[in-house]
């Protein structure tokens, strides 16, 4: 006896065979207990599957509002993308463009590899010093006093040290009341 294959039995269980195949399979099943058992197995399986149709408890109103809002955003984003797209001519990286691009990359990478990285500037510890004293600002080089700017008898002078090694003294002349600013800086 020639048995129908598993696919035929599986389709027969769901009534999915064409009329002639269905009739032939049904006729076979009346005489074949083995195939009847197979079809019963498929039928049992089909009876279980509808359990997957259950939906979880959902707040439909909330979901509707979320979906509407997100769809709106999605459509607006799509509009933005479409309007930003080039209308017709798109430059493609083929032919001579590809050759030029490749050559540029090679030159760039080669240049980076060949060129020496600039050395950081050497830091010289200068022995030059600008400092404030009780009388004013002194500029010394190698321990020798090169310049001295006196505060001219002012009792209170305020000193400001610059980041570049400069120094500034501000004081009020006790006799005239005028403000004097002395700035000493040196250059290498």
């Amino acid at each position: 006896m020639r048995h129908p294959n598993q696919a035929t039995l599986a389709l027969h269980a769901g009534g999915d065979l064409g009329r002639i195949r269905n009739w032939w399979t049904a006729r076979h099943l009346t005489r074949c207990a083995e195939c009847r058992e197979e079809v019963a197995g498929y039928t049992e399986m089909r009876e279980l599957l509808p359990d997957l149709a259950d939906l979880p408890e959902i707040s439909w109103n909330r979901m509707a509002a979320e979906i509407k809002a997100n769809v709106r955003l999605g459509l607006e984003a799509g509009e933005c993308v479409r309007s930003a797209e080039m209308p017709s001519h798109r430059a493609s990286l083929t032919g001579w463009r590809a050759v030029v691009a490749f050559a540029s990359v090679v030159v760039l990478v080669g240049g980076c590899l060949v060129l020496e990285r600039p050395a950081p500037p050497a830091v010289h510890i200068a022995q030059t010093a600008v400092e404030s004293t009780g009388d004013g600002i002194q500029y010394q080089d190698g321990g020798d006093l090169m310049l001295g700017l006196m505060n001219g008898g002012a009792q209170k002078a305020s000193y400001t040290l610059g980041a570049q090694g400069s120094m500034e003294a501000r004081y009020v002349d006790p006799e005239t009341g005028s403000i004097t600013v002395n700035t000493v800086s040196y250059a290498q």
């Binding site: 035929t8 769901g14 498929y42 979901m63």
Partner: protein, 174 residues
């Protein structure tokens, strides 16, 4: 200017009506395939965006409904292919009714997990065909239309799906 604003509002109103009319059905359809609420909601949104980007297809309501169903099915199948497998819901996300005892909830959850494990063995199209035919009860012709393939191909998917699922059930019985 005001005409443009008005037509924009009208369009938005029409789109909202379209979503309200179909979103439950589309969500359910996608949920049956992916078996996960969050993914189903994302894919529902994606389907509506795809559909509403082609307003001209939505003039005939009946055709629009079929077209939307097809987009939803394809979107879900693409998702299943991309993710490699379905991501199924957590226990507390599973459907439940107030009257159910904790034991009944647990049993139902285990049963659902058992079925979902079986679905994982199927390809995306086999799963879609099997669910549309045996869970949603759609005729093979409509399944073919939604999957955009011939009835013979759908039959092949359904037969493969049933055979694989049944083998899985037999293995689990042993």
């Amino acid at each position: 200017m005001s005409d443009a604003i008005e037509s924009g509002l009208e369009l938005q109103e029409r789109q909202n009506r379209f979503i309200s009319l179909h979103f439950r059905r589309i969500f359910a359809q996608i949920y049956h395939l992916v078996q996960n609420v969050a993914d189903a909601q994302d894919l529902t949104q994606e389907s509506f965006i795809k559909a509403l980007q082609h307003q001209e297809q939505l003039k005939d309501e009946q055709k629009a409904a079929h077209w939307l169903s097809r987009i939803a099915t394809n979107t879900a199948i693409d998702f299943l292919r991309r993710s490699g497998r379905a991501t199924f819901c957590e226990l507390d996300e599973a459907p439940e009714s107030q009257s159910e005892s904790p034991e009944a909830i647990l049993l139902r959850s285990e049963h659902r997990e058992y079925l979902e494990d079986g679905l994982r063995l199927l390809s995306a199209r086999e799963r879609a065909a099997l669910i549309m035919r045996d869970v949603e009860g759609l005729p093979a012709e409509e399944v073919a239309e939604r999957l955009n393939c011939s009835k013979a191909t759908v039959r092949s998917h359904i037969a493969n799906g049933r055979t694989k699922f049944r083998r899985y059930m037999e293995r689990r019985k042993r």
